[in-house]
């Protein structure tokens, strides 16, 4: 939302409402109107109407409440005009006037503390019945407020493709009759995991873009971090804390991990003075809370690993035994060969390169990671450190054959050139 001209006070108030309360407003409208498309449309209309009304009458005391009630009025009015029958209108009235426990949850005075609608919207957009790429596109649009163009640009897809993904997501909500409800307790964990997965995938795509020239897409990393923050506010689950911690700890290195040419700087060569201490402290504090207050899950353990790196001055002074411990834990949660690879690398640092290499070889030689360029690059690195030049050269060459992204390819070629 950007408003070019007019009263700067109105402009600021609208931008403020959009930035801080958009998800809440949209969620409430979906609940009141029972339809995501309509909610989006009337919210947009309400913002447009507010420009005139607020310039005439001044900014209202509760801008968010004003926008919701203007949008709701437009929504109900629109349904009436479409002559979809009195029955539906009655139903909508009942929906908005039912007030459990004598509390009217449409009363603007009650909107502040109660944020169920935001959570409902998040769970709706990330429902596992929606195909994954559509789920991501829908959530980026509805939860993170990205435009279709921004989504298309971030994923290097045509605008039409992004649009189609969103449409498909909305169709699958309708077809599967996915309700606008919070999941029941016994399903909450699984559904929350689905939400966290979407946030994580968005961040990963922004942090290490899988295609294209540029390695980092800040629009995605920023969207994911704000979303993770919102989740921590809405639902204090230890894994939400773990995920926010993980993203902050990764973000803390963003100034150091890519050089001026857009090339990757590996951890060992990063200038650690460029790491953002504030983010590291916040992230590490969150890891501590998460480790204590619940299951040490996928995100929490990864965050714990990154926090160990963040606390160290150099690769040599890193607490590798703590890292190996966390990888052992992580292997219990996720039997992924990539985790096994990283554990082998950590053992290579804690003990000797030989020890690490002994664990990596079976993963890449006809093993589950034989097609994974990072595994070959890791093998090359360990082989080089123990002076095994032939194995290192071969492994770097294998990594290059497996289609690394453009910045990764440049990095591997640079490393290979050093030993040729």
């Amino acid at each position: 939302m950007s408003l070019q001209d007019g009263d700067p006070g109105v402009h600021a108030a609208l931008n403020d409402a959009f930035r801080t309360d958009r998800v809440r407003m949209l969620g409430t409208l979906v609940r009141l109107l029972g339809d995501l498309d309509r909610a989006e449309e009337v919210l947009q209309e309400a913002f447009a109407a507010a420009v005139d009304a607020w310039e005439r009458e001044g900014v209202p005391a509760h801008p968010t409440a004003w926008l919701i009630s203007a949008a709701r009025f437009k929504g109900i009015d629109g349904i009436r005009r479409e002559r979809r029958g009195r029955e539906l209108t009655d139903q909508l009235h009942r929906r908005s006037e039912s007030s459990p426990g004598g509390v009217d949850f449409t009363d603007p005075g009650h909107l502040d503390g109660i944020r169920d609608d935001e959570l409902r919207l998040i769970f709706l957009c990330c429902h596992p019945d929606i195909p994954l790429d559509s789920r991501i596109a829908l959530a980026l649009r509805e939860v993170c407020g990205l435009t279709t163009e921004e989504i298309a640009r971030a994923y290097l897809i045509a605008k039409e493709t992004a649009k189609k993904r969103i449409t498909r997501a909305k169709q699958s909500i309708r077809r599967n009759a996915i309700p606008f409800e919070l999941p029941p307790s016994q399903k909450l964990r699984r559904r929350l995991d689905a939400v966290l997965q979407v946030v994580y995938l968005v961040y990963n795509e922004g942090f290490a873009a899988s295609s294209g020239d540029s390695f980092v897409r800040p629009v995605l990393t920023h969207a994911a971090v704000s979303w993770a923050r919102l989740l921590v506010d809405l639902l204090p689950d230890s894994e939400s804390f773990g995920l926010l911690a993980l993203l902050l700890l990764h973000e803390s290195r963003s100034a150091a991990r890519v050089d001026e040419n857009g090339d990757i700087v590996p951890l060992a060569e990063q200038d650690r003075r460029k790491w953002d201490r504030e983010m590291i402290d916040e992230g590490t504090g969150l890891v501590q809370r998460a480790l204590w207050s619940g299951r040490a899950g996928f995100y929490t353990i990864q965050a714990a690993i990154v926090s160990v790196h963040a606390a160290a001055d150099s690769m040599e002074s890193t607490a590798w035994s703590a890292i190996v411990f966390y990888y052992d834990l992580l292997l219990r949660v996720s039997r992924s060969p990539v985790v096994a690879l990283n554990r082998a690398i950590a053992i290579g640092m804690r003990d000797t390169p030989e020890e690490g290499l002994r664990l990596i070889r079976p993963l890449v030689d006809g093993g589950p990671l034989s097609r994974y360029h990072n595994a070959h690059a890791a093998r090359a690195d360990l082989a080089r450190r123990m002076g095994n030049r032939v194995e290192a050269v071969n492994a770097f060459r294998s990594a290059l054959r497996l289609n690394p992204s453009e910045p990764e390819r440049r990095h591997i070629e640079k490393e290979l050139a050093k030993i040729l």
Binding site: G102, I114, P236, S238, V287, R289, S307, A311
Partner: protein, 119 residues
């Protein structure tokens, strides 16, 4: 006996992050506690509790503090151990992982649905 072991924190205050070794130690302590069966539940209370109050029959809902002075509980564990001594011992080990600061141990009595079955 059941005990609640918990931290209290004021809003705006941040936890002093422990050393990497201390944090891994804490992870181990929690894992062992889970595996031995002594953990009944572990969790945290969100910082933003809602305050519901009734005055002359009118309900008012505010985004209120959980306790006076915006204090909240960033982590708690309910443990089932034979004695208060053991509860204090365990809490001390947990605190040692985190470094200087305090930790609270409170006996806890709770009734669940299974306690309400007629015998």
């Amino acid at each position: 006996m059941h005990f609640m072991v918990y931290l209290r924190m004021s809003e705006g205050e941040s936890m002093n992050p422990p050393s990497p070794e201390g944090m891994a130690e804490m992870g181990k302590l929690m894992m062992d506690a889970f595996e031995s069966g002594m953990v009944v539940a572990t969790g945290q209370l969100g910082a933003n509790a809602t305050h519901v109050s009734l005055r002359s029959g009118d309900v008012s809902i505010t985004d209120g503090p959980f306790l006076e002075g915006k204090e909240f509980i960033p982590g708690f564990t309910i443990i089932d151990v034979p004695s208060r001594e053991e509860a204090i011992q365990w809490a001390t080990r947990l605190r040692q992982c985190m470094g200087d600061g305090s930790i609270h141990v409170s006996p806890l009595s709770a009734t669940g649905p299974e306690d309400m079955q007629p015998s």
